[in-house]
Symmetry: C2
Subunit: 354 residues, 2 copies
């Protein structure tokens, strides 16, 4: 039978150990005052016997701070944010910080809601992966004096360090890879708005082309959404262009897959007629799509570095309020094993006809 522990307070321990409450604290916290070995032993025994656990709530109230940080991300359902969250929790745990998970669901309104919640909870700080272009959540956090670290975006309106992947390098490496494969006519599929990271990726793309003296037909740049269907639609148009490209640099893997799909459907051979590279926003997508080459972003590392910055801030270190140096990016060329590269499936189709 399992023994049940009723709530045990520090005073209970003090009573049992026949010392003052203060002494118990000194033992539990290993300071700030020394405790005689003999006394310490008595206290530890009492703690053990009673199954005492310090109450973090009372502790936080007294210290007027907490060891909890808030993590505001759009949606961990998206593997990209899930990996970031993983990194955040990992590093937080290594620094004895606890993480409150907040999903903004890509809505400013939810971000602001959580800013409120985290303020009420007196979170020690907030790691924020902005979901919209509004700096408002950051501005508010700032005005409340809550330490903040921004992920993946710069927000010039906000006084906070940011952790940013090296999108320029990624765009450059991806394009360089395509050039090395022998491609000379390029297209680029990107998302509609000119956000910092999307424009950086394209800047890298252009830099690689320029470096190799390759002309780029500006009419071969397409802005769409950032979903699979957007990539497909964009490629359909592009592949009909008079100067048809042999290579596409896509904003992300999902659009890249859409582009491959379109090319295939139009009767092109892949990759003989078309090579595509995209950033791995949805890493698992590339996992099962061997034809796709991806630029692997250091997502877990982003999360970890975000918390590292936060820890520095909490320890009062002098932090550069600007962005942290961009993180390196890996270019992954996935080997195709030809696993599921077979013609469409009549059998499965059939099941729908019933």
């Amino acid at each position: 039978m399992v023994e049940r522990h009723p709530p045990v307070t520090r005073d209970d321990v003090a009573r049992v150990a026949r010392v003052s409450a203060a002494t118990v604290s000194y033992v539990v916290n290993n300071g700030p005052r020394p405790v005689a070995p003999e006394t310490r032993k008595r206290v530890l025994q009492a703690i053990e016997r009673l199954g005492y656990k310090p109450n973090a709530i009372a502790r936080n109230l007294r210290l007027r701070r907490s060891a909890t940080i808030g993590l505001i991300v759009p949606d961990t359902h998206n593997p990209y944010f899930a990996e970031v969250a993983r990194g955040v929790e990992q590093m937080a745990s290594e620094n004895d910080l606890t993480v409150i998970l907040c999903h903004s669901d890509y809505k400013l309104e939810r971000e602001l809601h959580y800013v409120d919640v985290l303020r009420t909870e007196r979170a020690a700080g907030v790691i924020w992966f902005p979901a919209t272009n509004s700096p408002e959540p950051g501005v508010q956090l700032d005005s409340y004096g809550m330490p903040l670290v921004v992920l993946d975006r710069t927000a010039s309106e906000v006084q906070a360090p940011a952790v940013i992947a090296d999108n320029f390098l990624g765009g450059y490496l991806a394009t360089k890879h395509l050039i090395d494969l022998g491609h000379r006519v390029f297209s680029c599929i990107t998302r509609p708005e000119a956000l910092h990271h999307s424009s950086e990726r394209i800047r890298g793309f252009r830099a690689a082309l320029t470096e190799h003296n390759i002309d780029f037909d500006e009419s071969l740049i397409t802005r769409g959404g950032f979903h699979l269907e957007d990539g497909r639609a964009a490629a359909e148009q592009i592949m009909r262009h008079s100067s048809r490209p042999t290579a596409i640099f896509a904003y992300n893997d999902i659009m890249a897959i859409g582009a491959l799909r379109a090319a295939y459907e139009m009767g092109f051979k892949v990759p003989e007629d078309l090579s595509v590279v995209g950033f791995d926003d949805i890493p698992q997508a590339a996992f099962t799509c061997p034809a796709l080459t991806t630029v692997s972003q250091p997502k877990i590392e982003m999360g970890r570095q975000g918390v590292a910055l936060m820890v520095d801030i909490l320890h009062g270190k002098n932090i550069d309020r600007g962005a942290a140096p961009p993180l390196p990016v890996k270019l992954i060329v996935r080997e195709s094993t030809g696993a599921y590269m077979y013609p469409p499936m009549p059998a499965q189709r059939r099941s729908h006809d019933k």
Copy 2:
């Protein structure tokens, strides 16, 4: 310029509104005592003017409870857990609960660590997705009297309700689907241990076969790991069997993809020679592998229902300490558009030869 808010307490509000501290509380909490409209207005104005936010820490200390629940999952890097986490946070938010994210990293030791942390934080309850076969974390939580809801597993040693997907139904539906496609010789690839959900899936598999009077050669059941390579290895063996199956029921999508891969590599035509169905443990995998048929598990719903149970417990409702009724399972037959179904890629291969 953004106005900075220094820490404001309830007493500050009381002073400015020229009422007692208690009255401020009554306004903030809408009770438990009525407040005259005139007074309430003065208080609200003061709150607004000072930018006051109640301090949840002090509140929790006084009430001896918190509105925070712990979520212990193996790893949100795995999309399966990420979706569950999403559901948990969603429902928690709807019930004004805050979620502390804890990654056990598939380790019992980490689970126990977080049990400690959550006890120290005086979490109102814990949602636990067990990472190992050890009931110990649940047993401890139990002994501390902390409300607990277990996800996806039953733990008979633990006094706690569990939310379980209907694995039997999933196994049944998947197999029924294959039978309807005309298959009569089956194989089954599963994971090594006979965990509750894996054996349930196989029980459903067998039930469907029995119902249709289909013989099953027990030597065609294979236990491997639960990764892609395990599925591949298993299928390689199976497809050499004297009574070669035309259909495989795989434990999950990853093993299913491995199986498809093996079949393809052995020169079989897919799906003419082999159909495979697996549970969608890694949903994004199926997303880009159209040949794969998956049993879609209600992951977000699992998370939501887990929190719903927790809320009932916290409100003192009479909860059946056994498992909640299994959640329904959807069988998704993905349409193949033939997107990336082309031969292996010489161009990309080449880049590795350099």
